[in-house]
């Protein structure tokens, strides 16, 4: 059995994230890293493997992105994934949801043909685009059941059950492998790479694929054929810090209520 875990290399949320002149996200000039929310996906993939000790189960970490994106795969290998795939091609830059999910799906199909793809695990969202749609789109493209936004993951053999927190309810969802699973940050703390893990990662197989390797043409993906077009990006003017008072002998509550009343909130 092989598990594919999709990981994304994103600009550090604590850095000064910005856009390029063509309105694509600056993925080179800003320090990047493995999206925090994908660490939970790697963790769940590893736990699934560990739970079925004795069986031959491997974990493949997959990323699509520029040269530096390979760091996201390396981190996954350090955490314990067995092999890595990095899809890199200049033509992919600027892909929207449709393009990105197409490249990922083609890569997963290729992995499936080589070593299998019985379980695809994703994070709940990337920390840059925050769309939360790619896992569902992968399920659609791969024609696999979609078991997404899991806050709790349980499995017994090929049966997977999750808890999913919706806006107004909590659901228990069940499905049989192969499935596309996405997990939230509630699903369980992600492990840190150990020193041993970091050393071992250097020897793990890591393949680099181009669009041609996936049977895709440059004119099927990327900014020029995206189904959506960004017309403008504007930095929000920083909020100007307002009045801050220090509470002394209960003065804070009075000042707070006065402020709220002046703004007609009371």
């Amino acid at each position: 059995m092989n598990i594919v875990v999709c990981v994304k290399y994103v600009p550090d949320a604590t850095a000064d994230r910005k856009f390029e002149d063509d309105f694509t996200v600056d993925r080179v000039g800003v320090d990047g890293l493995l999206s925090e929310l994908d660490e939970y996906a790697v963790e769940q993939a590893l736990q699934f493997r560990e739970k079925r000790e004795g069986e031959e189960i491997t974990v493949t970490a997959l990323t699509v992105g520029p040269e530096k994106a390979v760091d996201a795969v390396r981190k996954a290998l350090q955490m314990g994934a067995d092999s890595g795939v990095h899809v890199v091609d200049d033509a992919i830059a600027g892909s929207d949801y449709l393009g990105t999910s197409l490249v990922l799906a083609k890569a997963i199909e290729k992995i499936k043909a080589d070593t299998g793809a019985d379980l695809v695990v994703c994070g709940m969202a990337s920390t840059d685009a925050s769309g939360s749609v790619v896992p569902a789109m992968l399920a659609e493209r791969l024609a696999m059941p979609q078991v997404t936004l899991a806050s709790v993951v349980e499995s017994q053999g090929d049966q997977v059950r999750i808890k999913r927190d919706n806006e107004g309810s909590t659901e228990v969802v069940g499905a049989t492998l192969p499935i596309v699973l996405s997990v939230t940050d509630q699903s369980g703390e992600a492990r840190y790479p150990s020193f041993k893990g970091i050393m071992a990662a250097k020897k793990k197989p890591l393949e680099t694929w181009s669009l041609t390797d996936l049977g895709l043409d440059a004119d099927q993906v990327g900014l020029s054929v995206a189904y959506t077009q960004v017309e403008d990006t504007t930095a929000r003017p920083p909020r100007t810090a307002g009045e801050v008072v220090t509470d002394e002998d209960g003065s804070g509550a009075g000042a707070l209520v006065e402020f709220l009343a002046s703004k007609k909130f009371i």
Binding site: A13, R17, Y97, L98, S101, S130, G131, S132, V133, V134, A136, M137, A139, E140, R141, A143, M144, P145, Q146, V147, T148, D165, N166, E167, G168, S169, T170, E171, V172, V173, G174, A175, T184, A226, Y227, T228, Q229, V230, E231, T233, T234, A235, R236, R239, A241, G242, E243, V244, V245, T246, D247, G250, G252, A253, G254, L256, V257, K263, F265, I266
Partner: protein, 317 residues
């Protein structure tokens, strides 16, 4: 005028406010047709409500074959409806489920998708707030039927009488779409307070509460506000995840946001930075939250909030 499909957000036939906001936005693009996934018995009552906001048609899709499975059947049904009526656009309230439905629908229809819009103008250009609210992005779908998910509080609902003609739509759900079965549903217990994402005022508590949310809740109730929590408070087990405001919880954009005992880490800012007015109460004068505020109190929330609650109650007489 061409139809604009608007997916109704509801709980057991109880239509939620974002639906009316979406119908208002849809009128800029064409003639709104509301889409109701639910029991046909509730269709007429729902139609009465949505026609007040301009719905010319109300497509009722019996969800008997749909509600037992996750996401995929809804996307199939919408695909079939969209292929029949060729809408000018499909608008959905930006819930996690609807975003996933929209993603699958985009592939099925070969259409562009924009998520979490906070505005849509007459030309279909959307506005999104990205990078923790530090940037706004204007974008447009350039291929296929625009599929746009819109966040709550993106427009003030404006009434406009529509015909509200009810039309049953029979969708055919494939077996392939029934792979992920919903085996149990537990409705969230109502707190009696407004919905977090829809509320005009949100009062949140963080690490500084020390686990005691009573002052936060009391203050919220005096203002008729929803209660929220930071990730630190949720991770400590003080509040359920459904109350979390931030990158991995809810994104809120109320008229007033009051952060109590919350330092203001990027993870939290991402969920509340676009609020119109921001107020903070925090013991630490160096807390980064004070960089965002319109008004701040350096003090202990356990004394400031109860005193403020009392003053507000007095004022209201």
């Amino acid at each position: 005028m061409s139809e604009v499909l608007v997916v109704i957000d509801h709980a057991e036939g109880e239509v939620k406010k974002p639906t009316y906001e979406l119908l208002t936005i849809a009128r800029r693009l064409g003639e709104p047709s509301a889409v109701f996934f639910g029991s046909p018995e509730q269709g007429d009552a729902v139609a009465e409500k949505v026609k007040k906001y301009g719905a010319a048609k109300v497509y009722v899709i019996d969800d008997a074959q749909i509600k037992g499975f996750l996401v995929a059947p809804k996307a199939e049904a919408l695909q079939q409806l969209a292929e029949k009526v060729s809408p000018a656009a499909v608008l959905l309230p930006s819930t996690f489920e609807n975003k996933e439905v929209a993603g699958r629908l985009a592939i099925k229809l070969g259409s562009g998708l924009i998520t979490d819009a906070v505005d849509v103008d007459e030309s279909g250009t959307t506005t999104q707030s990205v990078f923790a609210g530090n940037y706004t992005v204007q974008a447009k779908v350039t291929h296929g039927t625009p599929i746009i998910t819109v966040k709550p509080n993106s427009a003030a609902p404006e009434e406009a009488e529509g015909a509200g003609a009810v039309e049953a739509f029979a969708a055919t759900i494939s077996d392939a779409a029934k792979g992920a079965q919903i085996v149990a549903t537990q409705p969230r217990q109502s707190t009696g307070r407004p919905e977090l994402t829809e509320a005009a005022i949100v009062v949140s508590g963080g690490r500084g509460t020390g686990g005691d949310f009573a002052p936060v809740e009391g203050f919220a109730d005096s203002l008729g506000a929803a209660v929220g929590a930071s990730r630190a408070a949720v991770d400590s087990g003080w509040m359920p995840h459904a109350f979390q405001v931030g990158q991995t919880g809810k994104t809120v954009s109320p008229q007033l946001y009051v952060a109590n005992g919350i330092s203001g880490a990027i993870q939290h800012r991402a969920g509340m930075q676009t609020s119109k007015t921001i107020v903070a109460v925090n013991k630490d004068p160096e807390a980064p939250i004070f960089e965002l505020v319109d008004f701040g109190v350096v003090g202990d929330l356990h004394t400031v909030l109860p005193a403020a609650t009392e003053k507000i109650t007095e004022r209201k007489g």
